[in-house]
């Protein structure tokens, strides 16, 4: 979600900047004249002698009654939008509760931190794993897990992931009665010295 928003808005900003820059450079180099391209009649930049924003253009609608309210409203909306966009970067999505179906129609809430700790502890007990960090995300009745593992020396990443799925995650799913728990796993290592084994 945030990823899509960030990428769309960043792409839009980039597109606007690129288009403005190229349009100004195009006119500044005198290319419309040289290539015989005719620009639209109210296009502001056609010759190198043009300016970026003439006084006439800037004040064109100033005397209209609607001009200033519209300017202020548009700016205010843009301020709110960018403020929301900025604050969205600072928020970390973390699910603090898991909804458990207890079978009696009541349901129960499990602390997300507890589930995270259990998965992490079991992952750390696995051979080849030094440290594990688990974060629950998603909705509380449709959890997702983000798992970060620090591999020990001589670990085998493929089997480690397989075992994680079939022990730590499987056990969490079974014991909390979750439908599923899709996980995103990232593996890294702590730097260690090369050592001869034989």
């Amino acid at each position: 979600m945030l990823r899509t928003v960030n990428r769309v808005l960043t792409a839009l900003s980039g597109l606007v900047l690129l288009a403005l820059g190229l349009a100004v450079l195009f006119a500044a180099a005198g290319l419309p004249h040289r290539w015989g391209v005719s620009m639209p009649s109210d296009w502001p930049w056609t010759r190198p002698g043009d300016v970026l924003l003439t006084d006439a253009d800037r004040t064109r609608w100033r005397d209209e009654g609607w001009w200033w309210p519209v300017v202020i409203a548009v700016l205010a909306v843009l301020v709110l939008l960018t403020l929301w966009w900025l604050l969205a970067q600072l928020r970390r999505r973390r699910q603090s509760e898991a909804l458990i179906d207890s079978g009696d129609g009541e349901g129960a809430a499990l602390r997300g931190r507890a589930l995270e700790d259990v998965i992490a502890a079991e992952a750390e007990a696995q051979p080849g794993v030094d440290r594990a960090r688990v974060t629950l995300t998603g909705r509380r009745d449709r959890l997702r897990a983000r798992v970060g593992l620090v591999l020990a020396a001589h670990a085998r990443p493929g089997p480690v992931v397989h075992q994680l799925r079939h022990e730590a995650i499987r056990h969490a799913v079974d014991s909390a009665g979750l439908d599923t728990l899709p996980a995103e796993v990232r593996l890294r290592t702590a730097r260690h010295r090369a050592e001869r084994v034989s």
Partner: protein, 204 residues
């Protein structure tokens, strides 16, 4: 436990039974970065610029004098020709920045994270390149004769440089290649990188 849960788990078990480690399951696409930093910086700059403008426009509407920067800015905009050095430099900078933002928005990023084979159900796994290099270095050090090894892992290529202080170099190279091919296989990457191995005597 809901019925749905049971069904999901049975599917799961059936999937495991189907065997082979090379089954295609789920997608093995790149990890896409959230692009928090570019988004945050763009948002901050836009907010600052638009906020200032809004504040000044509103305060002028309320009958207070406008700030000097607006007068200067409109004068500059209305007098500098397009072929002025500053205008052209500014336009070039804007175009370059825009291109960069576009590239950031359209490329996946996270180049240090290698996607692993999606053969475990409901798990999407990625391996840091540095971790892959370290694992392979450990494997290389297990080969008899290898005294030191440097492994660099790029997105599509693994390069191993080893020094052998005993045994025939060709034998060591063969063993090392075997060990590393095995090691690369056990990394479980979605896209197997090419392997290049070089073995030398340690320099004197």
């Amino acid at each position: 436990m809901s019925r749905q849960g049971v069904v999901a788990r049975e599917d799961d078990a059936a999937g495991e039974g189907a065997g082979g480690g090379h089954r295609r399951q789920g997608k093995a696409g790149r990890f896409w970065s959230t692009r928090r930093a570019p988004g945050g910086i763009t948002a901050l700059l836009l907010l600052a610029g638009i906020g200032f403008l809004l504040y000044d426009v509103a305060s002028v509407r309320a009958g207070r004098p406008g700030m000097a920067w607006r007068r200067t800015l409109t004068d500059e905009l209305a007098t500098r020709r397009l072929d002025d050095v500053f205008v052209m430099a500014g336009a070039a900078a804007a175009a370059a920045l825009g291109l960069w933002l576009l590239v950031l928005a359209l490329t996946p990023g996270k180049r240090s994270l290698l996607t692993m084979r999606p053969d475990t159900p409901q798990v999407r796994a990625g391996l840091e390149r540095s971790a892959a290099a370290l694992v392979l270095r450990d494997r290389a050090m297990e080969v008899p004769g290898v005294r030191g090894a440097r492994v660099t892992v790029r997105r599509r290529k693994v390069r191993a440089r080893a020094q052998a202080h005993f045994r025939d170099l060709d034998e060591v190279r063969t063993d090392l290649e075997g060990a590393l091919r095995d090691g690369v296989e056990q990394l479980g990457l979605a896209r197997r990188p090419r392997l290049s191995v070089r073995v030398r005597r340690p320099g004197k």
